[in-house]
Structures are given as C-alpha cells and as structure tokens.
C-alpha cells in the first residue's frame, strides 16, 4: 500500500472495527460507518476523489481496499470516479463512489445520463453538502440532484442510519436498476457515535462475463425517449416502496403540532423538543426523493401547524406546501418562508428550539440571543486564528518568490482550489478570482483578452490533473497570452495528502504509473517551461522574473513536497526534522521572517525579537534565507 492520507489521530482501531468479521458495537465516524455498510453489502469497486467532508471514506478504502478485496481507485476527478464505478455496475459488480457537494457538479454529466441508462449491479453515490461552507466554496444543496436526475435519494441523520441506508441503497439500486444517491451534510459525515455493525460476508472478487445487449447502456434520440418513459415508471415504483420505508418514521404521533425534518435537522429537532420539554409529532424523512407523498399527506392532515426543519434550501418545505394544498389547506406551515429559520448556515438545537418556541408560543429556558451577544462581547480583542500555511509549507516560499519577482508589476491573478486558496484571504489578499476546480485557466483565457495587466494563473498539481487539463489544451491551442504557475507538492494536500495522478509511490506499489508534469505539459504543446524550487527564495525570483517577462504562454512549475507529507516520509524513513532558532544577539527586529511571511512557528518575545516555536518549526530554512542579518540558524537538535 502507498502511504495513506489519514490525518494523525484517526487510528487503526476504528478501522479495525470497520473491517471486523463479527458484528460488534463500536464507536465510529459516520464516514467509517458508510464504509462498513458498503463492505457488509459486499461492494466490489470503490472510486473517488478526496473532498471534505467525505475524504475519510476514500482514505479508509485506500487503506483497507486491498485487504478487503475491493478494487480501489483514487481517480483524477469525481466524474471519472463515478464513471469507474458505473462501468463496474453496468457489468454486474457493486460500486461505490463518494464526493463533496461540488464534486457532483463535475460528475453530473454522467450522473444525469446514468439516471436514464440505469445499472445492473448496485451503484451508490455519496454526496456530502457543507452547510456553513466550512471547507467548501459554496453552500450548495445537493438534494436537487435527486429530482432533476430522477435518481432516488436517501438522507441519514447519524452513523447508525448511515450503515443501514448504505446496505439498503445497494439492494434498492439492484432491484430497480438505478443508481442511488445518499446525501449527507458535514454534521452527519463528521459525527461519531456508537453503531452496531452487522455480519460481514465478503465474497471473493470475480470478474463477470459481459453480455452485449444493443442500446442497453446507450442513450440517444429514440433510446433516450424510451429510457425517459422507463425512468418515470421506475420512479413511481420507488415512490410506492418509499411510502412504507422504515427510514421514514413518526415520533410521538397524535399531537396537533408537527415537525417534518430529515438529515442533521432531525437531530436538532429532537434536541429542541427536549429543551422545550414539548412533544410534537415528528416526521423524520429518510427517503427524500421520491418523497413519500401519501405519508406526508396523512401526517399533515390532522395537524394545526407544522415546522419544517431542514438546512439550506426549502426543499421539503416547498413539497409540503404543495401537498398541504389538498391535504390540509388550513395548515400553518412554519420554516424559511415564514422567517422562522434561515436558508443559510448550519443549525443547532438552540436555533431550532427558538423557532419551535415561537410556533407553539413557549419560552426557551435560556435566552440564547443574550448568551451569544455576551459571548461576542467577551471575545472582543480575541485574535482570530484562521487556517494558515503550515510550517514548512512550500506555498509560503513560492508566494514569497512571486512577490519578489513581481514587485512593482501590477498583474491579475486567477487562482484555484487547494491550500493556496488561502492566499487571496486575509492577511495576504493575494489572488483575484477563485471559482472552481481548474477554473483558473479558463478565467485566465478570458482575462488575457480583457485586461491591460499581465495575467498569472495559479493551480496545484492535483487540481491541474482534476480539471486543469482541458484549460491548458485550450490555452496552448488559442495561443493565450498568460502565465501559469503550477504548485507541485506531490499530493492532494488540503484533504489529507492523498496521492494524485502525479504522486510517486513511497513504496514499490506497481499498481500506479505516476504522470510527470513536464512530460504532460510538453506533450500538450507547452514549449516554455521553467522549474523552480519552492524553498529557494534567493534564486527562484530571478527565474520567475525572466519567465514572466518572456512573451506568450508559459508554465512555471514550483516544486516541493507538501510539508505534512514530507514530514511523514521523513518519520517513516527515520530522518530527523531539525527546527530553527533565532539568535537573540543578532536579531535586529527587521521582521522579514514575520511580515508577509506568516509562518505559525513564529511569535515575538518580551523583547520584541522574533521567536521560533521549536515544537512546530519544520526546519525548511526559508525564513533564514529572508533574514537580512542572518539571525536564524538551525538548532541542530531534531524535534
């Protein structure tokens, strides 16, 4: 196995539970419960591209795939991943893929068509939304993918739901010949809890014989219209099945106040009722496309009022409102339209209990508003602690060199998705546009037509392989006049240092052939390629300046391993990490190591001199190269 991407702290023990043969009660992250569910369902092929909050699913398969005889593939992007498992499922082997919300945008082209063609064996797609945009570029609500692609959708609320739903999803998928979407949110994926696992009956991996059936998986014109008609019938059958699904249930039936909820919303709703010591009837929906309309109809018919608890868009609310028109026209519906709950940010029990209190005319036991207000006042003066480039991060060196090379030169900088997406934020504010994976290249093509200043696009290696290749081909073909800097740190760093198409395996893994960036660029017709060392802040600026001033399209590769990845390799090989220190006798408080450098290993001591925390300094020596009086030296002692 290659060096896995599991962040420190997620240890072998929980994975031992994930792959244990006998059923047991175990503390598991929901993402691990999803993996367990898939293993219990005898999944044969997994493919994915990392993305928070789903990365631990991919990490787990990467680590245990071989052992569990699951063909596992960290794909170029989510579209390739979905197509990989679709190929398996068309042939007759169960496949699973997982992706973050925006990953499904990339995969959606094939996703929509798969709704038409369907599959032979079970195909399950996990898509995880990120209310609050904790680690995403948007709060996109993936639930609309279900109805728009006619693909059934399930929503777990916790790890126990997840394990059961994944197993059911494979079964559902196979019986109806349709891919199944399992939609989660951050607070479901990253929720741990105690689950009861089921038996693990893995069958040996065996190839199947392909049966050629004309237009079975080919949709165009006439066959597309046939598929569409089938798809509508299929959806009706699934709706029928969902009406009786145990994943939809009613807590405390009989009240004239109701709550309709799903996903993380259910957890907050239950807790809100406890806080208010009230017992409304709660309809928890686990199958949210096609919706069990009759169940909802019967649930709301006797109610006086209902509160819809769902994060992000009013998906359930619009449907309930439509059903209520016939079921109960007098029903008072509370939620987003009524202004009781927001259409943005994630919820919590206090938020839902405030809304519920208003609906039932009760008072919350605590004045949550006042507590939050007091907290805000208390936090005045508390410095923010945004994520920053790690000590030893090569991006810090690259950005320093770029700033040196471009001093006094106004330029426009479209950037991309990765750790370097932090550069356009405080405190650097370096970078002008940030759209989606690979977008820096397309945006640069438009900018070079439109702006007077030179255009310098920035992208990481993994993002480049994910969605930058078409943009590059386009730039070469159209003789676009911009520069591209590729930050090559060997791995998909931000999501946990997973290998990408260019990663050189750290052991003798013969199952992959890493792509060489230079070869790819040359093969695509790039003639002007410059390579710099991200740590070389003395020489790199000169090389960059030359490259930036040459006419036409050119590519600069800034190369250095991600520091966390590099450290892990060092630790594995028993190589030391030797931190630096500041010589107090020499430091003249010029602060070249702090201003615009922002390495978290630095602070200042009582004398105002720079100080290095030796427990986190990575010993990259970039700061030492910047110090005009050479006050930074190695401690000589490994960390």
């Amino acid at each position: 196995m290659r060096d896995g991407g599991r962040p420190e702290g997620r240890q072998e023990m929980s994975l031992a539970d994930v792959i244990a043969g006998e059923p047991r009660k175990a503390f598991m992250l929901c993402n691990e419960a999803i993996v367990r569910g898939a293993l219990e369902a005898d999944v044969k092929v997994y493919a994915g591209y990392p993305g928070s909050p789903t990365s631990e699913i991919l990490d787990a398969f990467h680590e245990i795939g071989e052992k569990m005889d699951v063909r596992t593939n960290i794909s170029a992007n989510e579209k390739v991943a979905l197509e990989t498992v679709a190929g398996a499922a068309m042939a007759g082997l169960r496949g699973l893929t997982s992706m973050k919300s925006v990953g499904l945008n990339v995969a959606s082209d094939s996703f929509f068509t798969l709704g038409y063609t369907g599959v032979t064996a079970g195909l399950v797609l996990i898509v995880a939304d990120d209310p609050h945009a904790h680690s995403s570029q948007s709060e996109q609500d993936g639930r609309f993918f279900g109805p728009s692609a006619y693909i059934p959708m399930l929503e777990p609320s916790d790890p126990t739901d997840a394990i059961q739903m994944v197993k059911y999803a494979f079964d559902l998928s196979e019986r109806h010949g349709v891919p199944v979407l399992i939609r989660t949110v951050t607070r479901v994926n990253h929720q741990s809890g105690i689950v009861q696992t089921g038996p693990l009956n893995r069958t040996p991996f065996k190839k199947v014989k392909w049966t050629h059936e004309p237009t079975r998986f080919v949709t165009v014109a006439d066959s597309a219209r046939k598929f569409k008609a089938n798809m509508l019938e299929r959806t009706k059958r699934i709706a029928q099945e969902f009406e009786a699904s145990p994943f939809n249930r009613i807590d405390n039936p009989g009240s004239d106040t109701g709550i309709i909820t799903s996903s993380a919303g259910y957890n907050y709703a239950v807790e809100a009722c406890r806080i208010l010591n009230t017992r409304p009837s709660i309809l928890k929906l686990g199958t949210t496309y096609p919706l069990p309309k009759k169940l909802i109809f019967d649930f709301i018919r006797p109610l006086k009022q209902v509160l819809i608890v769902e994060e992000l868009s009013p998906y359930l609310e619009l449907n309930v409102t439509a059903i209520a028109k016939e079921a109960n026209p007098q029903l008072k519906i509370f939620g987003k339209e009524s202004g009781h709950l927001l259409e943005m940010l994630e919820y919590n029990a206090n938020i839902v209990s405030t809304a519920l209190a208003e609906v039932i005319g009760a008072k919350t036991p605590l004045d949550f508003e006042a507590i939050l207000k007091r907290a805000d006042a208390l936090k005045e003066g508390l410095p923010v602690r945004p994520p920053t480039f790690c000590p030893g991060c090569p991006h810090r060196g690259t950005l320093t060199s770029m700033r040196k090379a471009l001093r006094g030169i106004q330029h426009v900088q479209p950037t991309d998705i990765g750790c370097y997406s932090m550069a356009p934020l405080a405190p650097l504010f370096y970078g002008d546009t940030l759209l989606s994976m690979g977008a820096s290249l397309g945006v640069a093509a438009g900018l070079q037509y439109s702006v007077e200043e030179p255009v310098i696009a920035m992208i990481g290696d993994s993002t480049f392989y994910h969605a930058g290749l078409p943009g590059l081909a386009n730039a070469v073909n159209h003789k676009c006049n911009f520069k591209l800097i590729i930050l090559d740190n060997s791995v998909t760093a931000m999501t946990g240092q997973q290998p990408n198409l260019g990663t050189v395996p750290q052991d003798d893994d013969a199952s992959v052939q890493p792509l060489r960036l230079e070869d790819v660029l040359k093969g695509m017709g790039v003639t002007d390629i410059t390579i710099i060392d991200a740590y070389d802040v003395k020489e790199a600026p000169k090389k960059l300046k030359e490259a930036f001033t040459r006419p036409g399209f050119s590519v600069i590769i800034s190369r250095r391993d991600c520091a966390l990845y590099g450290d892990r390799i060092k630790r594995k090989k028993g190589q030391p990490i030797v931190p630096n220190q500041v010589d107090k006798k020499v430091c003249n408080k010029y602060y070249a190591c702090i201003r615009d450098f922002n390495c978290p290993a630095f602070d200042v001591d009582e004398d105002g001199q720079a100080h290095i925390s030796r427990d986190i300094c990575d010993g990259c020596m970039v700061c030492a190269k910047l110090c005009p009086v050479s006050a930074i030296k190695t401690t000589g002692e490994p960390r």
Partner: protein, 214 residues
C-alpha cells in the same frame, strides 16, 4: 438534563483533538455509555482553530452542544478556550492548558504596530470569569515532557479531566482505551501522561471542585 455530559474540546490544528475524542468514544463504547461527537476534520492545515463537541447521555441526539448548555470546555491551548465560550453553561467547568500559541496573524499585526503586548492567557481568564468561577489550568506541555513525549499534551488534559466527578467515563475504561487507541510505540508515554494529568488535577483542584478519588 440529568446524567448527561457535554464537553467542548478545542485547540489548534495538529494538537491531536480527534485522538482525544476517539479515546473517550471508545471508552464509552466499552462502558455502555451512549456518546456522539461533532468533529471538525477536513482542511488539514495546521495551526488553525479546531474544536470537537462531545456529548454523553442516552437521549442526546445533536452532535453540536446547544448554546449555553455545555458542562465543560477542555482546551489544549489557552486562547482557544474563549472562542467557544457561548457553549458553556453558567458556572460550567473550564480545564485549560496554560500554554499559549499566538496566532501568526496576530503577531504580524503586533509587529506592524511595533508592540509586544499580546492578548494573552490573563485576558482570557478575566473574560471567562464572567461566565464561570470554575477555571482550572494545567501546564500540559511540562507534564507531557515528564511523561517522555511532548506530543502527549492531549492525554495529559484527558487525565486531568478524568478526575472531575461530573465526567461520567470510568478511569479504567479511559486507560484501556488509550492503550488500544494510540499508536503502540507511544502507549507507555500516553498512559504516563494520563496519570500525571490526573494527579496534577486531583492534587490542585479536589478542594475546589467535586473530584473522585484517584
């Protein structure tokens, strides 16, 4: 809500919060306690603010602690304690590492202003006092070093937490969980760190807050 315990564990990326959560979670699983957590994973960059909500009790459903209802905050870094103060109930328990890691963005600001006056631990404690009197701090780094591994600050604080009577997880279960959960080569240092944390906490705080015997 009786027989429940909600604790917010916070710190700085890279301090091993998830490990603490897993140790407690596994100990709960072994002790028939229901536990759920809301964890923060995802962005792997070090040195950012990180937090985990951990809730024990047969009826808890929300992985996030409702505002004002947390029984305790355990912070692996002093400044971070204040960042989550809205979750702590009035009079709740605060167990904090005395270590401060100043955000580099703050240092950069100070340097610009030619100042060395950080917002520090005393500022944090003064503010916390407006919500609770039960603020206990431990020099976890020093104890971790004594345990033989400076990376065991997280386990020192878990040990320190374990002596408080309101924390419902049995000490033995925690120790067994540590032995099973941490990397094997760090097992002894972690067990030692746990004990040093428990002893320091017991010696200093048992007269101030209900503690169990160790």
């Amino acid at each position: 809500m009786k027989d429940e315990f909600s604790v917010l564990i916070c710190g700085v990326g890279g301090q091993g919060l998830v490990l603490v959560s897993n140790v407690i979670g596994n100990a709960c699983a072994a002790s028939n306690l229901r536990v759920i957590t809301g964890e923060q994973h995802g962005l792997s960059q070090r040195s950012g603010a990180v937090s985990i909500h951990l809730r024990i009790g047969s009826d808890v459903r929300s992985p996030l602690i409702p505002v004002g209802m947390g029984d305790a905050i355990v912070s692996l870094e002093a400044l971070e304690t204040l960042r989550y103060i809205e979750y702590l109930k009035e009079g709740g328990l605060v167990l904090m590492n005395s270590r401060v890691a100043f955000p580099i963005t703050d240092t950069a600001e100070l340097v610009k202003k030619k100042s060395t006056k950080y917002f520090g631990r005393e500022d944090v404690e003064n503010k916390l006092k407006q919500v609770t009197a039960n603020i206990f701090s431990v020099d976890a780094l020093e104890l971790a070093r004594q345990a033989g591994n400076p990376l065991t600050e997280n386990t020192v604080l878990l040990g320190a937490m374990s002596v408080f009577e309101s924390f419902p997880v049995p000490t033995e279960a925690l120790k067994e969980s540590i032995a099973k959960t941490v990397p094997q080569k760090a097992k002894d240092a972690n067990l030692k760190a746990f004990e040093l944390g428990a002893k320091a906490s017991h010696d200093r705080f048992c007269t101030l807050f209900p503690c169990r015997k160790i």
